[in-house]
């Protein structure tokens, strides 16, 4: 059985490396982006093999899905008409030979150093797994990754929410053009898909959020699912944003940080230290913070993709 697993791992790894190489190769940019998304999914599979299902979920949803969608949106915004290839995707002549040799040397050095570091590990370092396991009962949840993210290292998650907020502020200030709209926006098959799949996805997001306390899941994965629902709704023309929606979106962006920091302030008053939850009610605190975070992350990821100005409603016709 062991040899079969090793063969599977070797095949999966070969697939990951091959697809990653194709994702960065010059030439057709659309093909590269699709290869990148496939690589993300294969890497998620590899991480499941390494007993990291929470991270695999996040990589599949955020690292491959949302990032791939962002790439596709940028690719679409750049002109591809014959005779006026853009700076950003034109296939330039290959880099000069000396640069390629220098780059190869740099890459080989990096890989060599990493491999040497990996080979020098002999498994005697205990890591922090035992320390986490010893205090897991006091953390309020039984999923160790959620405990680390939302309790033991809650500061890091708080700062991560700040990074998300900063990113959406920058992207909303910079965007020159609205996000693309499909042509045509509505059709019976797409509408049927939306009616069936979107409510189930919302339910799945709520389930993932609740599941994160004792099984792989959590706020980030649930937030990514909800963001996908929002993107499909807006991109497919199923929901036309009204006048107050931009303000509501901005409120949603800040909601996560406000909720998390507010919880920190409350715990400062109640327990004397920021983000030290009262031990009896730790699970409630964590779930409440995660719920607020899920909504905010969903709004932020959708906002990163869609931009501030959504395209005006069109009945059909050529893309710009």
């Amino acid at each position: 059985m062991n040899a079969a697993w090793l063969a599977f791992d070797a095949l999966l790894l070969a697939g990951i490396l091959g697809v990653a190489w194709a994702a960065m190769a010059p030439g057709d940019a659309f093909r590269a982006i699709v290869m990148f998304m496939v690589m993300g999914l294969l890497v998620a599979l590899a991480w499941v093999r390494l007993r990291a299902p929470d991270v695999a979920l996040a990589e599949a949803a955020v690292g491959s899905g949302v990032t791939g969608a962002l790439f596709l949106r940028t690719w679409h915004a750049l002109p591809r008409e014959a005779g006026r290839a853009s700076e950003a995707t034109a296939a330039r002549p290959a880099a000069p030979r000396r640069l390629r040799l220098a780059a190869f040397g740099l890459a080989a050095t990096l890989t060599g150093l990493l491999v040497a570091a990996l080979a020098s590990l002999d498994g005697t370092a205990p890591g922090l797994g035992d320390a986490v396991a010893a205090r897991l009962a006091q953390s309020g949840v039984s999923n160790p990754v959620t405990a680390v993210l939302l309790n033991f290292r809650a500061y890091d998650t708080l700062l991560e929410v700040v990074v998300l907020l900063a990113a959406v502020v920058v992207v909303w200030s910079l965007d020159a053009r609205p996000a693309p709209r499909p042509v045509p926006a509505r059709g019976p098959i797409f509408l049927g898909f939306a009616r069936l799949a979107l409510p189930v996805t919302v339910l799945a997001a709520g389930y993932l959020l609740w599941l994160g306390a004792f099984a792989p899941g959590g706020a980030f994965q649930a937030g990514a699912l909800l963001a996908a629902v929002g993107i499909v709704l807006l991109l497919g023309g199923l929901y036309r944003p009204g006048s107050g929606d931009r303000r509501r979106a901005r409120l949603a962006f800040g909601l996560g940080l406000a909720g998390f920091a507010g919880a920190g302030a409350l715990t400062l008053g109640l327990e004397g230290a920021m983000l030290r939850y009262p031990p009896a009610a730790a699970k409630t605190w964590i779930l409440a913070i995660e719920a607020v975070l899920t909504l905010s992350i969903a709004a932020t990821l959708a906002g990163l993709f869609l931009g501030e100005r959504s395209a005006p409603a069109r009945t059909g016709g050529e893309r710009p």
């Binding site: 499909p182 042509v183 059709g187 098959i189 797409f190 898909f193 069936l196 799949a197 189930v200």
Partner: protein, 99 residues
């Protein structure tokens, strides 16, 4: 190796065969529509057989229900995306054929 193990394994291998057929079609067929045809048809059946085989191997009813839900959602998503890709390809060919 119980009966269920053999049954589950056989279903998985059968599903794998359909996936291979779909992939060969994607690599060998001349244009986008033929490729879509091969992919959606073969992968749909491959997915159903794989989900069935995994449910048999898992053994519990809760796992079977979850797998049925996964199968339904993936089938829905692949059908919709096949339709959207075909529509896009159709519009692209129309634009090119126009004088």
């Amino acid at each position: 190796m119980t009966f269920f193990d053999i049954l589950g394994g056989a279903l998985l291998v059968l599903g794998l065969g359909f996936f291979v057929a779909g992939t060969v079609g994607m690599l060998r067929f001349p244009d986008a529509f033929c490729r879509l045809h091969a992919l959606t048809k073969a992968d749909n059946l491959g997915l159903a057989l794989t989900a069935l085989g995994t449910a048999v191997l898992a053994g519990t009813w809760s796992a079977a229900v979850k797998l049925a839900l996964i199968w339904g959602l993936v089938a829905l998503a692949s059908a919709t995306s096949g339709h959207l890709i075909a529509g896009h390809a159709l519009r692209a060919t129309d634009r090119r054929d126009r004088p």
